[in-house]
């Protein structure tokens, strides 16, 4: 029986997870763990770090996950959900819609680890379904913890510590309450530098899930029984044969085989010529397949009862080799019937091998390197293959057509391949498109951009700036893709300019393209308007800036490049013979300043001047004529990184050096103040409306340490920052978000948007409130209404009887309503006597703020026509066990009784009366997982869960496990009758 571990999460939340780290870096006392503003969200994504005594809290929210899953996705038994591991959390996606349904976050309890490791090391490394109970999940993490979850209720049931980092878990229903775990061991050998080498020492244990007697009550339990099967290299795969008689592990160059009937005998080793990377066991035959890092797939026919004789001896075995992949095979899977083997790797091609003939079929161009392949075996559907790609997206391939039927893409910043990471020197595109309030972000492939809508946390679109075929490298040398380095959007939102750069690789010249994209309002997407080859020769473009809208109606762009040129670009109109006017971008002027190389360009708020930072100078130019007005030279900063106008009046100019800040007053043409920073200044952002700016300091730390950033806020009036904050991560790029800050409470506060060193998007600022994506927190899985299967009630009463129930769905409105756009606020900028009367504005305005009640499900129900189903009278009714996961209240029951009566009287019976002994809800509830369950059960209980959950708000986590503890609660489960539909009906 699962044991409740109530205290785990609460205890975790009250302990400072990062205190040791922060204090070490910033030298501040451990922070008091006040989680003031984030109580509604138990996720740790939002944190507040008080860095020093005088520093006010500075909040940040991560909008996206940074990394792709390194663990194969796991499918639920009914094939309706799949679980994917991201870092320390398990995300549950719906197969039908691709939406994120729920998130199980383990990191909140990660600090239970006695070793004191930080949350970063607690990544989940393996996930398996509980062999006895398909609603339960076993995860293993690098911190050595085995956790058992109930993923339907999002409850952590049990935590068990194994003390060693876990790499693989295998389980089989033949071994009740037992799992096989591969762990890495600290090595006894030492390398030349005297440190322990951990990379090649591992072992496989046979672990009982029943806690030892001493630790039954404690939150982290120890296994009652733990038996070492044998030592291995670090495992890359661990499987049990489908009949449970063999345990196979791969590690290094060897495959380790052990008969489960004779576990004392330990492993028999079989040697492969190459390093093995993945492992799969044939579903019916007595053989398994491995993939290795040169691309060979081997079928091993070495499982025989005579193994034990050669105990401990390294052996060669009879194998069949299949070679197509030219790089490492990352995943192999047998189809359910065992006739085919699927394999995938860096090539991005799914290979389907027919085993008896060796023939191959291909699904090419899935989009990115394949990291994992999983089968989807829904009951009444065609078999599908789920490919987890290296860019964190998922692709469904139908087995019948071998075509990609669907793909689930989420925001993915993490480069799909490690060598695709841009070098630290190159810029990262980050911009905001105001008309649609989307954020332009880099994508996993460096040559594309993605558009992210923070209001709904949705990936809106992806734009390939330089289209290319995503082919794999030929040899070891990686292909050099073109990288988008700049993406700047004009203030009107009508134009976007991107600069993509392909590095020269020894033999061949590089390529630089500047592309102008036009926002098509009809299709709501960007259309390529002009391409400029080599805007600044082959040298990099270091600064791109559009002129602010205020100055003149036409758009104007300034670019500066490392070739020393400062170029302005304008639109040229050409009238075609057909009468339509085409516009495209051309160079207006080219100028340069002495021999200096510019490093940054920015416009004043009114668009009349632009300033170029170069060397020790900052040169002021007229916006229209490009006439040089003034050169501000500050010998203090030898290499100016950036120059900004401060505030809407543009009176002050901020010049940024490596460690210096210089503020000039343009009216008096004098230096106002000068600030010397102790650490390297990485970036600066000027407030779009106020006369203030933020400066980011990279706090020096070792390469191994997680970086942190200090933010200093300045006024032009004084060289001492009026506020100082710290952030526990490094930032690659920061921009000011002009509209998000209206979400925050303090009007004059900053709201910034940044990309962290770990490639996640963060919103920084004071009291940032952002709507969160559905399902990004741990929650019960409720059935989506539209996709619900028909129950007996539908057949009896028709769909119309259920439509009213959908109205009772509690609206899961986000914390903050999505901001509808800046336009609404601008309405009130006009003087009051010029405004239309308030009553004419009121409705439209308020409509803008109100979230519309989703009646999506209702519509769908109404469209589906009730159908008559003939029933098999001879069929024996069967009992279905249920799970009671919550208390049902009296009034709820009354509602249902009322409802049932009403329906029973009014509705016309579509078929002959149905014999059912349990119609009146006398079904005896059974404990969760107490009986062997069928695959159907999941679906059925899913099908009912929305009715169960209706009317009740999401329950607190602490309350939920208790219901598991007392499964035989007193509540009558009236509505469970719906489960008695038979298979023949559907």
């Amino acid at each position: 029986m699962p044991v409740p571990v109530d205290g785990t999460r609460l205890a975790g939340a009250s302990k400072p997870p990062r205190s040791a780290k922060i204090s070490q870096i910033v030298a501040v006392p451990p922070l008091s763990s006040v989680d003031v503003g984030v109580a509604p969200r138990p996720k740790k994504r939002k944190g507040k770090e008080a860095a020093s005594q005088d520093e006010s809290p500075w909040s940040w929210t991560l909008l996206t996950d940074s990394s792709a899953s390194r663990v194969p996705p796991v499918l639920t038994k009914d094939g309706r959900y799949f679980l994917s591991v991201v870092g320390s959390s398990v995300k549950i996606f719906s197969v039908a819609t691709g939406d994120l349904v729920s998130t199980l976050d383990a990191s909140t309890s990660a600090n239970m680890d006695s070793a004191g490791s930080s949350t970063d090391t607690c990544t989940i490394t393996s996930v398996v379904l509980h062999p006895q109970n398909p609603f339960q999940l076993i995860t293993g993490s690098t911190s050595g913890l085995v956790r058992i979850w109930d993923f339907l209720d999002a409850v952590l049931l049990q935590t068990m510590s194994l003390k060693h980092p876990i790499t693989q878990i295998a389980a089989h229903e033949k071994f009740k309450d037992c799992i096989f775990v591969a762990v890495t061991l600290p090595s006894k050998r030492h390398n030349s530098s005297g440190q322990a080498t951990t990379e090649d020492n591992a072992a496989v244990y046979h672990i009982s899930l029943i806690p030892s007697n001493e630790t039954v009550g404690s939150p982290v339990q120890l296994p009652s029984r733990s038996k070492k099967i044998g030592k291995t290299r670090v495992t890359t795969g661990l499987v049990l044969s489908p009949n449970g008689s063999w345990l196979v592990a791969t590690g290094g160059h060897k495959a380790y085989v052990c008969s489960t009937s004779n576990m004392k005998g330990g492993f028999t080793k079989f040697v492969s010529p190459e390093k093995l990377t993945c492992l799969a066991f044939h579903p019916s035959g007595e053989f398994f397949a491995t993939g290795d890092h040169v691309g060979c797939i081997r079928l091993w026919y070495c499982l025989s009862d005579s193994l034990a004789k050669y105990d401990g001896v390294e052996r060669k075995a009879q194998t069949t080799t299949m070679h197509w992949h030219s790089h490492a095979v990352s995943s192999i899977t047998f189809t359910a019937n065992g006739a085919y083997l699927l394999s995938g790797g860096e090539e991005g091609v799914l290979v389907i091998w027919q085993l008896h003939s060796g023939k191959k079929e291909f699904v090419p161009r899935v989009g990115a390197p394949i990291s994992h392949i999983t089968l989807i075996n829904a009951i009444d559907q065609e078999e599908q293959y789920l490919l987890a790609l290296a860019d964190a997206s998922f692709v469904f391939v139908r087995s019948g057509t071998l075509k990609i039927s669907k793909s689930i893409a989420r925001v993915k910043l993490d480069p799909a391949l490690s060598y695709n990471r841009p070098s630290a020197l190159s810029a990262i595109p980050l911009a905001i498109h105001t008309p649609t309030s989307t954020i332009v972000l880099p994508s996993s492939h460096p040559s594309s951009l993605q558009f992210f809508l923070p209001a709904s946390s949705k990936l809106v679109a992806e734009l390939e700036v330089s289209p290319s075929n995503r082919i794999a490298r030929r040899d070891e040398k990686p292909l050099e893709p073109s990288r988008v380095e700049h993406a700047v959007i004009s203030y009107s939102g009508e134009w976007m300019v991107t600069i993509d750069y392909r590095d020269a690789d020894g033999t061949f010249h590089g390529e630089v393209f500047m592309k102008f994209w036009w926002w098509d309002h009809k299709s709501q997407f960007w259309i390529l308007n002009t391409r400029v080859d080599r805007p600044h020769g082959l040298k990099k473009v270091v600064g791109v800036a559009f002129r602010p809208k205020a100055a003149a109606p036409e758009d104007l762009l300034v670019t500066v490049g490392q070739d020393g040129n400062i170029k302005t670009w304008g639109i040229r109109l050409v009238k075609r013979q057909s009468g339509e006017i085409e516009n495209f971008w051309v160079t207006r002027t080219t100028t340069r300043f002495r021999v200096e190389t510019p490093s940054h360009v920015s416009w004043s708020a009114d668009g009349s001047l632009f300033i170029v930072a170069m060397g020790p100078h900052a040169a002021l130019y007229d916006g229209v004529t490009t006439a040089l007005y003034q050169v501000l030279t500050c010998p203090e900063c030898q290499q100016a990184k950036a120059a900004h106008f401060v505030g809407p009046s543009g009176r002050y100019v901020l010049v940024l050096g490596a460690r210096e800040l210089v503020l000039w007053d343009l009216l008096t043409k004098s230096l106002r103040w000068h600030y010397q920073s102790s650490s390297v200044i990485s970036d600066s952002v000027v407030h779009p409306r106020e006369e203030s700016f933020a400066v980011f300091q990279q706090l020096s730390s070792q390469a191994t340490e997680p970086q942190s950033t200090r933010v200093l806020l300045f006024n032009p009036s004084s060289p001492t920052p009026f506020a100082s904050r710290t952030l526990p991560f490094g930032l690659r790029r920061v921009i000011a978000h002009p509209y998000l800050d209206q979400l925050s409470t303090a009007s004059s506060s900053f709201t910034l948007l940044g990309i962290t060193q770990a490639w996640s998007v963060a919103v920084l600022g004071e009291d940032v409130l952002l709507p969160q994506e559905m399902g990004s927190v741990a929650q019960k899985i409720v059935e989506e209404v539209g996709a619900r299967r028909k129950t007996l009630f539908h057949d009896m009463f028709g769909d119309a009887a259920f439509s009213e129930s959908t109205a009772r769905v509690p609206s899961t409105s986000p914390l903050v309503r999505p901001w509808m756009g800046h336009e609404i606020a601008e309405v009130f900028d006009a003087p009051s006597h010029l405004m239309p009367p308030l009553r004419s504005l009121f409705d439209t305005l308020v409509d803008g703020f109100l979230t519309r009640q989703s009646n999506h499900g209702q519509e769908q129900q109404e469209t589906s026509t009730p159908e008559d189903v003939e029933m098999d009278e001879n069929a024996k009714p069967f009992t279905v066990e249920t799970r009671i996961e919550r208390a049902v209240y009296r009034d709820e029951v009354d509602t249902f009784v009322e409802f049932f009566k009403q329906c029973a009287i009014q509705a016309i019976e579509p078929g002959p009366p149905y014999q059912n002994p349990h119609t009146n809800g006398t079904l005896i509830p059974k404990a969760n997982g107490a009986q062997p369950s069928r695959a159907n059960d999941v679906a059925r209980s899913f099908a009912n869960s929305p009715i169960l959950s209706k009317g009740t708000p999401r329950k607190a986590l602490a309350a939920t496990p208790t219901s598991h503890d007392t499964p035989t609660s007193k509540s009558p489960s009236v509505i469970m009758t719906g489960k008695k539909r038979k298979k023949s009906i559907g």
Partner: protein
């Protein structure tokens, strides 16, 4: 994710020497019409007046062709022997021709009636020409070494010049003075006669000439500028320019033909000179520099050449009896301007008064807009969506057959496509494998490609990168195939030439910079 076909980038068109305005103009003379005659065509002459019919002399006949249809409109076959030098008078009404018996006949072009017969030459007459200024005079040059000037109405010889010592095969009455006659003879000399004195006033060329005027080859053709100050002569493959004002000094000698130059003609404004030779070429010279600006090839040795006064036709007669006529479609504004000019010059105001005032300046032609058929409002138009078929090279790229893809674009595709594919191969890190493992037959087109485009500003950089790879790859096997070795040598030569050119450019740029900056200083001061 579908396969993305190779995107062929558009490049700005470079102004290559091959496609300058000059050659573009001469290339407009397209669609050569070949008319087969029975014997070598000895003379072609366009009528100076409209409709610019032209007289073609071959065998014993003189044929008058209509320029619009290229069909014979008149055939004059009143000669007993091979006819020579059919020439139409300035008003387009009379035709004169000589023959190998020494007989000269003048015909009415319409009735083909013999109007005059001039019979005093004893040897074949190769030149019979009307004087362009005095329409009643005729020049004839004969193999009996004499040159005669005739008065047509009286059918009498005005002057006879006997200074030449060999066949006189070319001659012309000056267009600036009706008294001056330029002749060239097989005695290697060019002489200028004056009919007023009746003597040779100027002797050019010959064995005694010094420097550039020294000539040992028989003079095939002479030509005089309309201004009458400069004369041209051809002897063998050498073209000589004589300054008549400076007393017949040879100012230039050019040799651009491989074989004897047999025909010389000016365009209407005498700004370009066309020469045809036995080497089957017609070359166009800019007379300000005497540089060849364009070359046209013909299928046989060119014997005679003529260009129509409106510069729409180039007719060339060849030794195999073929007459080639190249035509150019004149621009809409061109004939109007010419008409206007001619109308003004001839003080002929009728055309004005008649109300047919030609448009002055650039006219605009209204484009006809085809009205689209309007369908029923409720009609649903089903768009036919055809799947785009992949090109050959895309198919091969899709199958990762890099070498085959490269081979497929080495055939007849535009260079932009070729280099787009090469760029794609570079992106895929596939150029090395596409270039590797070729024998001399397969390597030759690649070297040809490199050679052709190494100086092209659009692709030069890529060609250099690619050439680096090729050289690195095939250096060990150099010297095994003479073909490849030659190509490599030519590539090297071309690169060296391009480098020199670039240096020249840099020098020019420096000079210009200096000029501009000094001008700026001047403005400031």
């Amino acid at each position: 994710m579908d396969y993305q076909p190779v995107v062929v980038a558009r490049h700005p068109r470079p102004s290559s020497t091959k496609h300058n305005a000059e050659s573009k103009y001469w290339r407009l003379f397209k669609h050569p019409v070949f008319i087969k005659e029975y014997a070598p065509i000895t003379s072609v002459h366009f009528s100076p007046s409209k409709p610019h019919r032209y007289a073609v002399t071959a065998a014993t006949r003189v044929q008058i062709y209509a320029p619009r249809t290229q069909k014979v409109t008149k055939t004059i076959s009143r000669f007993k022997d091979v006819a020579r030098s059919g020439n139409i008078r300035g008003d387009g009404k009379l035709v004169i021709a000589g023959d190998d018996t020494g007989l000269i006949q003048i015909f009415d072009i319409n009735s083909r009636a013999i109007l005059r017969t001039l019979d005093s030459h004893k040897q074949p007459v190769h030149v019979t020409k009307f004087s362009s200024l005095d329409q009643t005079r005729v020049l004839s040059c004969s193999d009996d070494t004499t040159v005669k000037l005739w008065d047509v109405p009286s059918q009498s010889c005005i002057a006879t010049f006997t200074d030449h010592t060999d066949y006189v095969r070319s001659g012309q009455v000056s267009t600036s003075s009706p008294h001056l006659i330029l002749t060239g003879s097989y005695d290697t000399t060019v002489r200028l006669y004056d009919s007023r004195t009746g003597a040779c006033e100027m002797l050019m060329g010959g064995d005694t000439g010094e420097g550039g005027s020294h000539n040992t080859a028989p003079v095939e053709q002479v030509l005089m500028f309309p201004s009458g100050t400069i004369a041209l002569s051809s002897a063998g493959p050498i073209l000589r320019v004589w300054d008549l004002v400076a007393g017949g000094r040879c100012t230039r000698a050019l040799s651009n033909h491989q074989k004897t130059i047999t025909a010389m003609v000016f365009d209407t404004k005498a700004s370009r000179l066309l020469t045809g030779g036995l080497d089957q070429m017609v070359k166009v010279y800019d007379v300000s520099t005497y540089k060849v600006v364009h070359t046209m090839r013909y299928p046989a040795p060119v014997l005679c050449l003529a260009i129509s006064p409106d510069e729409t036709h180039i007719a060339a007669g060849m030794s195999d009896g073929t007459l080639s006529v190249r035509r150019r479609q004149p621009k809409a504004s061109e004939p109007a301007a010419a008409d206007l000019n001619s109308a003004l010059r001839s003080s002929n105001y009728e055309s004005y008064l008649g109300g047919t005032i030609p448009p002055i300046g650039q006219g605009r032609v209204r484009q006809k807009i085809k009205s689209k058929p309007i369908g029923d409002a409720d009609e649903l138009k089903v768009e036919s969506r055809r799947k785009k078929r992949l090109r050959d090279y895309d198919k091969m790229l899709k199958g990762f057959k890099y070498s085959a893809a490269l081979d497929s674009v080495l055939r007849k595709v535009p260079p932009t496509t070729k280099f787009a594919l090469i760029q794609e191969l570079i992106h895929r890190d596939g150029l090395h494998s596409a270039l590797a493992g070729r024998d001399d037959v397969l390597l030759e087109p690649i070297l040809g490609l490199l050679l052709k485009y190494v100086a092209d500003p659009r692709f030069g950089e890529m060609v250099c990168d690619m050439a680096g790879v090729v050289i690195e790859m095939y250096t060990p096997v150099l010297g095994q195939s003479p073909l490849i070795d030659t190509l490599f040598a030519r590539l090297r030569k071309k690169v060296a030439a391009e480098l020199r050119f670039q240096q020249e450019l840099v020098r020019t740029k420096g000079a210009l910079d200096m000029l501009l900056s000094s001008a700026a200083l001047f403005v400031v001061a």
